[in-house]
């Protein structure tokens, strides 16, 4: 326990400034999103109610998405450890690769929990201020927010895991750049081949013909976003990604210099 306390302390101490910056940005965004809701909620007119619902959903979505990205993103510690020489020094410490990887995962999970709670707090404030009763509107904001949050965390974690592997196999800065470019182009090709770029599924339709994403698609997206099945799937993906993250970190700490 004392060992994990030390390891986690080191990581938190090193990422403190980064965390404070992210927190400020998050709170600024939250304040920006909250302003129109507060103004609309205070006006109390019935015409405003329908628009307010859309605004609240949009604001919660944006803030949750941002929170998820901030929580899941790479904290830059691996690179900082390589640059400072700590990575090499860690090989002479009695801590095992598994213990270090577990500490990395604990820090990642605590950030995910923290930004999740902040996003939830924002949603609670929005709902209270706007005075909207979601039960009456037939809308489940908790499910939607969890899906957006975990979905964004998963997407960013996937990139983080890929980045960790790139860092692991690059022997110098040039190799890091080359592998990075290859990975970036490769990811682009995969997205293109599987038609995963948003709005690009309909190749023969130009922007002049109207919206590239149809209303039907939007409705379908909304249904998926608010579905409990989606939540179940994303949660499973999240667990798998946590395991993959742990394995990537374990391998990274275990791998010796060439």
């Amino acid at each position: 326990m004392k060992l994990y306390k030390s390891l986690v302390y080191r990581e938190l101490r090193l990422t403190r400034n980064r965390f404070i910056l992210m927190l400020i940005l998050f709170l600024l965004l939250a304040a920006l999103m909250l302003t129109p809701i507060m103004l609309g909620g205070l006006s109390g007119t019935s015409e405003m109610n329908e628009d307010l619902l859309s605004i609240v959903i949009f604001a919660c979505g944006v803030v949750t998405l941002t929170g998820g990205i901030m929580a899941g993103t790479n904290n830059g510690l691996q690179k900082a450890d390589i640059n400072s020489g700590w990575k090499r020094y860690s090989y002479i410490l009695p801590t095992t690769a598994k213990q270090q990887a577990l500490s990395d995962l604990l820090v990642k999970l605590s950030f995910i929990l923290l930004f999740g709670l902040l996003s939830a707090a924002f949603a609670l404030v929005c709902i209270t201020v706007s005075g909207i009763n979601f039960a009456v509107e037939g809308f489940d904001p908790v499910c939607m927010m969890l899906n957006i949050y975990l979905g964004s965390v998963c997407a960013v974690m996937l990139v983080d895991i890929a980045y960790s592997y790139i860092l692991m196999f690059a022997n110098d800065k040039n190799q890091l750049k080359i592998i990075g470019v290859i990975a970036f182009v490769g990811a682009g090709v995969v997205l293109r081949v599987f038609d995963l770029f948003p709005g690009m599924n309909n190749d023969d339709k130009s922007a002049k013909d109207g919206a590239m994403i149809s209303q039907e698609m939007v409705n379908k997206f909304e249904t998926i976003l608010c579905s409990e099945k989606t939540l179940l799937c994303i949660s499973a993906v999240f667990v798998v990604l946590c395991i993959l993250f742990f394995l990537a970190m374990w391998r990274s700490h275990e791998r010796r210099e060439p």
Partner: protein, 300 residues
């Protein structure tokens, strides 16, 4: 169960045993090297830049994997018993590997969880002795302060083996002397050992009991420092006289305007053989210099 449980903690003769270690890089090979560092001994590990000192140290600390050979630290295998070994060793690198944002207090908080035998009182005593500020960021430390902090961290968990890679390089003579004095104190109970790599041979002449000399990835000499210095000498003679000296006695020959200086590897025997020549004692620096030129034999 702790990794150290069940392992005999003190019964070992050699703090370091390196047998037939080979590590190949593109353009450099650490070639089948072997040497031991007996318990309670300071071993100076000397050689010019790029000779293989750092590669040897990285191999024995398992920072890099070796291609073949066997390494035992404190009587234990350096890979199989890695955690047990690393609880009982300390390492000082030539550059401070700690992040600039930390201070001395942060380092104590980090290490006290990692080392079961970490002693905050000892650490505090070293900080006071070195006059290191507790709350000042490491990034604002001078080179000497950084090295002192690294040494304070290394000596505060009761390590039985201290490994140093060019730790005194770049430090002024006063700081170097202070640090060497600390190392002598550290060894006083006879249970601790030091492997100290350096190309500043004057430091090693002051404190080392033994010396290992590496060049181009091969161990050329290893043994007690006094014996090595005793065995070698610089024979001064005319250039014409060189032909009379047996090739097996010569390490290499330095030519100058006044004649030749020949490094001989059996001073006592050579002094009987060539009674008309003067043989001066050789320093570690001289020995290193002449051995580096052993392949060309004659140099100036």
């Amino acid at each position: 169960m702790p990794a150290t449980e069940g392992i005999n903690m003190t019964a070992y003769e050699n703090a370091i045993e390196i047998k037939g270690v080979t590590k190949r890089y593109d353009g450099f090979t650490l070639d089948n090297i072997s040497f031991d560092v007996p318990k309670g001994c300071i071993m100076g590990f000397i050689g010019q830049n790029g000779a293989g000192k750092t590669t040897t140290i990285r191999s024995l600390l398992h920072i890099t994997n070796i291609d073949s050979g066997e390494i035992r630290l404190l009587g234990l295998d350096h890979i199989k018993d890695e955690t047990a070994v690393k609880n009982r060793i300390a390492v000082v690198f030539d550059e401070l590997p700690f992040h600039d944002v930390f201070n001395a207090k942060d380092m104590a908080r980090i290490f006290e969880g990692m080392y079961p035998e970490w002693d905050n009182t000892v650490y505090q005593q070293y900080l006071e002795r070195f006059q290191l500020p507790i709350k000042k960021k490491i990034g604002q430390f001078s080179k000497g302060m950084k090295m002192k902090l690294q040494i304070a961290c290394a000596l505060s968990h009761n390590a039985e083996l201290l490994v140093m890679d060019e730790a005194t390089t770049g430090l002024d003579p006063v700081v170097r002397d202070e640090i060497l004095h600390i190392f002598m104190e550290y060894l006083q109970n006879g249970e601790r050992s030091i492997l100290m790599s350096s190309h500043i041979t004057s430091d090693l002449e002051k404190i080392a009991d033994m010396v290992t000399f590496i060049d181009k990835g091969r161990i050329l000499l290893t043994g007690y420092k006094d014996e090595i210095i005793e065995q070698h000498g610089i024979l001064k003679c005319d250039k014409e006289k060189i032909q009379d000296i047996d090739a097996e006695d010569i390490v290499s020959i330095r030519l100058n305007n006044f004649g030749a200086e020949v490094m001989v590897n059996d001073r006592e025997n050579v002094s009987y053989k060539y009674r008309d020549c003067v043989i001066d004692p050789a320093s570690l620096d001289d020995i290193m210099l002449y051995y580096v030129h052993r392949d060309v034999k004659e140099w100036s």
